[in-house]
Symmetry: C2
Subunit: 227 residues, 2 copies
């Protein structure tokens, strides 16, 4: 049976959230990967790269793995009924409901993280609680069939973990070797726990507007739920 994998490909996404795990997951034998949006055709990432959506929400089959990337565009679809309904429908039967980076906030907005442990980009972890999720530290957090990954590049670690679950550790290891995933970051600056505080401050300043918007959206979600 074909393993059906689908990524939501919304405008203004952070493309590496998607392209990292895509590279790994697409090598699962007898898998089929869908890049899903309202209409088929090029979708522009936050950096300008255009990736082609090949499957519409309507035409998308029931997926075995749903993956939601993050990035600035995630904020624009937090109230999008078509996107939220699609995720809720898929979640009813999907084997795994997953996200990378702030994609977890979109899963949250669809009500799909309520009661689950989860993670997200380090700058957004405080927002998970508003969606009923409990932040858990980790590059990849698994709770039931929810698998959420930390920021951007964590999608590669996430995908390799998922492949190990689905196809065994040996197969995951062959993929890791094939993509020579033997990372040597030139600096110790990939997480606030190891980064220089002045560097963290710069990134926080850079992300300030987005964080405020995401906070307002989290509050609105919570207010609506409580009313």
């Amino acid at each position: 049976m074909t393993l059906k994998i689908g990524f939501i490909l919304f405008p203004n996404l952070t493309q590496l959230d998607l392209t990292g795990p895509y590279e790994v997951l697409s090598h699962i034998p007898e898998s089929q990967v869908h890049l899903i949006w309202r209409e088929q055709g090029p979708v522009k990432a936050d950096t300008g790269m255009q990736i082609v959506a090949d499957t519409t929400f309507d035409a998308c089959p029931q997926l075995d793995i749903v993956c939601v990337p993050g990035g600035p565009g995630q904020m624009d679809v937090m109230d999008d009924a078509e996107v939220l309904d699609f995720l809720r429908q898929q979640a009813k039967t999907a084997q795994y409901i997953t996200s990378v980076c702030t994609g977890s906030l979109l899963l949250g907005a669809a009500g799909l993280l309520d009661g689950y442990k989860a993670t997200t980009h380090w700058a957004a972890i405080d927002l998970l609680a508003a969606y009923g999720a409990t932040y858990e530290k980790g590059r990849v957090v698994r709770d039931g069939n929810r698998v959420t990954a930390a920021g951007v590049s964590a999608g590669i670690d996430f995908a390799l973990s998922l492949v190990a679950e689905l196809k065994g550790e040996d197969f995951a290891k062959t993929l890791q070797l094939a993509i020579e995933y033997d990372p040597h970051p030139p600096f110790q600056s990939g997480h606030p726990e190891c980064a220089d505080p002045s560097i963290t401050a710069v990134v926080r300043t850079f992300m300030k507007d987005a964080l405020e918007k995401r906070q307002a959206q989290a509050k609105a979600y919570q207010d609506q739920k409580e009313s």
Copy 2:
């Protein structure tokens, strides 16, 4: 002055070779990234993902950074006069001539690694010598203005190193933190030096046909040069 960065986007490339460094380099302030092919429009990667080429060879400005990704499609352009001429022309004035994975073999075919230290995907390192290059161990190898990266995921390490050179270590560190590049591979299997030999054997078998084709191309290049 705008920093002009260009990636060759050939059919059947390994998309993460390109999308990894693109994510990093595109965040350099006042930079412009070109995805370059014969014609504008979608180009299909080896996994089926389609990325849009936005710049043709003819319309491409002189670049400051030229980057050549790898993947199966690299073999199909090793004799392609349009591609090779483009690389040679760009190399005359580019500040950096770079590659990820087997993209280095294409740089080699264009005569651009002759006399340089370089690296490539671990399965292809023996082929560099045919192009006059000397293999050097390393995730990222710099020699003069040639910067070559190891397989696929090494493109992220490469791009962060390049950003550090161009814009300083602090800026590179902010980008590393922004993409939460704090990798935790689930296994120690990213390089033959740490992978289980049986896993390496599986990947070598999987890559056998490609390796034989690349060997034949390397021999043909050498024969032509010596004749």
